[in-house]
């Protein structure tokens, strides 16, 4: 029993050390701009453009549900124009960044872990090293930069989409006028609502891509190992997104 606890403690400490080393190697690779700038542009397109439809789809339906649930909750107690307030605040502060983050943890994090994991088990990462490339500069830095820069852009579009679908739902199903929806939307709006959501989503992008890369490059054991890495990337990213979400709420709000 004590031995098992000890073993787990050692494994946990080793994992922290491993992440520390990984982070150090990534920072060391940053000045090698010539190596990472080209792949970073490719990754920005893959992370950004290719992920946009998923994020917008989720945001569109979230906006609809938010408007309807707000109206249901407020009925008879709170003026209906507060639907605009709730849709706006929730999309900007919470659901825009978090739902997009969770969805993209599945899409981006899993695909990065699978891609790098396959490269690792088929010795492509070793091949890169023998060709005098630094795998951190060629594989990790472009992905993490792409995630950190593109997530806020995706989330900005998701926020706008959720608010628009919330507004359209209010017009079509709640007998709320555009003026009333906008009145509610502006009521408690502060600029911090936007930058808080976007900053948070940048940290989610950083975390998801970093986890995808760490888990991917640590893959061992063929196809089964790649499958395991993919699952781990999604689970760890989702947990870290929720932890970070709470952390930023405590620190920044």
């Amino acid at each position: 029993m004590i031995q098992a606890i000890g073993r787990r403690a050692v494994t946990a400490v080793e994992a922290v050390g491993q992440v520390g080393h990984f982070f150090q190697d990534m920072v060391r690779a940053l000045p090698d701009v010539r190596t990472w700038v080209g792949p970073a542009i490719v990754q920005m397109r893959r992370v950004g453009v290719d992920s946009l439809p998923v994020a917008l789809f989720i945001a569109a339906f979230t906006g609809v549900v938010l408007a309807l649930q707000a109206s249901y909750t407020f009925t008879g107690a709170v003026p209906l124009y507060f639907v605009g307030t709730l849709v706006g605040k929730t999309m900007m502060l919470e659901l825009g960044p978090v739902l997009a983050g969770l969805a993209l943890a599945g899409r981006v994090g899993a695909s990065m872990a699978a891609e790098l994991g396959t490269m690792k088990v088929t010795e492509q990462v070793d091949a890169l090293e023998t060709l005098a490339y630094d795998p951190y500069a060629y594989l990790v830095v472009p992905r993490v930069i792409a995630g950190t820069l593109m997530f806020p852009i995706i989330v900005a579009f998701a926020m706008a989409t959720g608010i628009v679908t919330g507004w359209l739902t209010s017009l079509a199903l709640l007998d709320l006028s555009t003026n009333d929806f906008l009145k509610g939307l502006k009521l408690f709006y502060v600029f911090k609502d936007i930058w808080f959501g976007l900053f948070k989503s940048a940290t989610f992008g950083f975390t998801i891509t970093l986890v995808g890369c760490i888990v991917g490059l640590d893959t061992r054991g063929g196809a089964q190992g790649v499958g395991r890495a993919t699952t781990h990337a999604v689970v760890y990213s989702a947990i870290l997104i929720l932890v970070l979400d709470a952390f930023w709420a405590v620190v920044l709000l």
Binding site: M119, E123, Q124, E129, T130
Partner: protein, 241 residues
């Protein structure tokens, strides 16, 4: 010159190399033979710093690989071409992009890269496959692309990890001929890891048998063929006992 000096390497409780010492002189091709899992590929990876020894060292051109910083290691790697067991081609790149990737790193112009890629593919009899993806190639062709990627760099040394494993006898003979042609045309020093004895006799100047983490016997092809060491005999004759 490449020299293994009393190299020890273990993975957890499994000791793979235990006092492995071997000198590879400039211009020769040394074939390292041994049972599956005996540590041949592990030894090869020490030369390019993909693995680091627990004790002892590998010396390449007078430099101890494990003591080099990232820059020093990169400089050593630029003198070495590595042919992986399953070719390790980049799936998302075409044949030409695979062969040219290492050249891009060396800062060559686009025309120079194109010329070198064409020349390397011609040397492995794969002219005209430039735009194909690795998935469209047979196993033997993939290995030849792997060799082209290594020789395009015009290295001083080429390391071959199981170059004929999994290939039919005719394709294996083609790969053997390529390795000989590479040595003759480019004058490179070669280290070949294999358990294919026909290939070992064809391409090797010397053959070294790795057993239980260290060299059991090293010598010329005839010397190995006529060995009286029962274990080496068993291996080269492929007898179960």
């Amino acid at each position: 010159m490449i020299e293994f000096q009393d190299v020890h390497k273990a993975f957890g409780p499994k000791r793979v190399l235990e006092g492995f010492s071997l000198k590879i002189r400039d211009g020769e091709t040394v074939v390292v033979i041994g049972f599956s899992g005996s540590g041949k590929s592990v030894a090869l990876k020490h030369i390019v710093g993909l693995l680091h020894p627990d004790a002892g060292d590998v010396i390449v051109d007078g430099q101890a690989v494990s003591t080099l910083d990232r820059q020093g290691l990169t400089a050593v790697r630029r003198t070495i071409g590595y042919v992986f067991q399953f070719a390790a081609l980049f799936d998302s790149m075409t044949v030409a992009e695979n062969v040219g990737l290492g050249l891009r790193r060396r800062g060559l112009s686009a025309e120079e890269i194109e010329d070198r890629v064409r020349e390397a593919l011609a040397l492995v009899d794969l002219s005209g496959t430039d735009d194909q993806l690795p998935a469209e190639l047979s196993g033997g062709m993939r290995k030849r692309v792997g060799i082209a990627r290594a020789i395009a760099l015009r290295p001083r040394y080429i390391l071959y990890d199981e170059p004929t494993t999994g290939l039919d006898p005719v394709t294996s003979a083609v790969i053997d001929r390529l390795m000989i042609r590479t040595r003759e045309h480019l004058g490179v020093t070669g280290v070949v890891v294999t358990h294919d004895m026909r290939s070992a006799y064809t391409v090797g100047d010397r053959i070294a048998m790795l057993y239980e983490g260290k060299i059991r016997q090293v010598g010329g092809v005839t010397e190995i063929q006529e060995t009286e060491d029962p274990l080496v005999r068993q291996f080269i004759e492929g007898r179960p006992e």
